[in-house]
Amino acid sequence: MKNKSLVSINDYSKEEQLAILELAANFEKNPTQKILEDYVIATLFFEPSTRTRLSFESAVSRLGGKIIGFSDASSTSVKKGESLKDTIKTVCNYSDLIVMRHPREGSARFASEVASVPIINAGDGANQHPTQTLLDMYTIKQTQGRLDNLNIAFVGDLKYGRTVHSLVMALCNFNCTFHLVSPFELKLPSSVKIHIKEKNLEYYQYTTMDEILPKVDILYMTRIQKERFSDPIEYEKIKNSYILSNDMLNNTKDNLKILHPLPRVNEIDEDVDDNSKAYYFQQALNGVYVRQALITKILGIK
């Protein structure tokens, strides 16, 4: 994996993904190690994403690495019309690895082709966000003891949710069964379903979640945005059917864990937070360990 950019989750094989998860477990036990002291990591956030940036910067800081970069393109030469290529080429002179987030789809792939240092994609528009996928996988493995043969429900906006697309694609390597709960207008796109079909895995589609709750090991909740609906009345009609509340969890499996890529708005009631099945805050913390593992693998330190 040394020097290998991570733009799309499929850039890494199943074995490489598992190697990162394994190393992340070591960082979970021992997150503070001075092993990046000789390295400079650039975090280029062409659009703000405080949560993701802080997770990366915490990962690097705990390992003693230096961080350069920007958190918002408006304060940089990008605003003066510098091309992405020129920005990346310049930053390559100053750093050993670039973490970037950019509002345009395909920007990270392009950057990886012009850069002399490896790139980690921290989100390129609506396309990919592979470190989120790795942390989701890590969390599933952590809570279930495995990734194989699980019943996984995805609830909410399955059409535009890039975290859902990448995670579904990654889990296709682990013989999971998919339960897809969404309004009709926000179904999982066929470009993603094709990966499930290629592996001959089972998937089921629903418009309400009641029926699947007793069956699943993982309940992955996502937010439904009003602006995704062509007809606002449609949104008003369905919005309450995709909200999870604590009383709905009575007949669920003991091993069930509820995940969410955060930030949440109202799709999980706050009364769920105290239920031991709620796991979304621990999930976010896992992002630090997974990013530590990924960075050290790419730099060839671990």
Partner: protein, 151 residues
């Protein structure tokens, strides 16, 4: 050769590209970069055709295309016929094949794709030759036949 072919004069040596959809003749000339070609080029369009209502034809003197070069036109002229002419005689006929990869020719349909904002050559993997679906190497979105425009 049938007489109607001679509506566009014959060439001594070179390649005839026949059965191009009439409206796409200029597109084919552009894709093959014939605008910058120095030898004689003859072309006709809005000619009668059995395959199309009307068709176009291009005759390029002293030019024999490489396979991957000519296959680029398959996107705009999927049923084109290639005819190799030597000494005014047809020595070979073949058809074009849709390539596995499409570079530079097509614009990505996704307005938010980096290729529509930076100086980047477009690049696609052909995911379906029957329905003509191209997956962008950069944004990973599909551009299909009805949304296809050319660079």
């Amino acid at each position: 050769m049938e007489t109607k072919e001679f509506k566009v004069s014959a060439i001594e040596n070179g390649t005839v590209i026949d059965h191009i959809p009439a409206k796409n003749v200029f597109q084919v000339i552009k894709i093959l970069n014939l605008e910058n070609y120095d030898n004689q080029i003859l072309f006709g369009t809005n000619l009668e055709s059995k395959k199309y209502v009307t068709k176009g034809i291009i005759k390029v003197s002293n030019k024999f295309f490489k396979t991957d070069e000519i296959n680029k036109i398959a996107l705009v002229a999927p049923r084109a016929t290639l005819i190799i002419i030597k000494d005014y005689k047809v020595v070979e006929k073949s058809s074009v094949q849709i390539p596995d990869e499409v570079i530079k020719i097509v614009k990505c349909f996704n307005p938010n794709c980096i290729t529509n904002h930076e100086k980047v050559e477009t690049k696609f993997t052909v995911t379906s030759k029957e329905e003509l679906k191209l997956r962008c190497h950069y944004c990973e979105k599909i551009t299909d036949k009805k949304n296809m425009t050319f660079v």
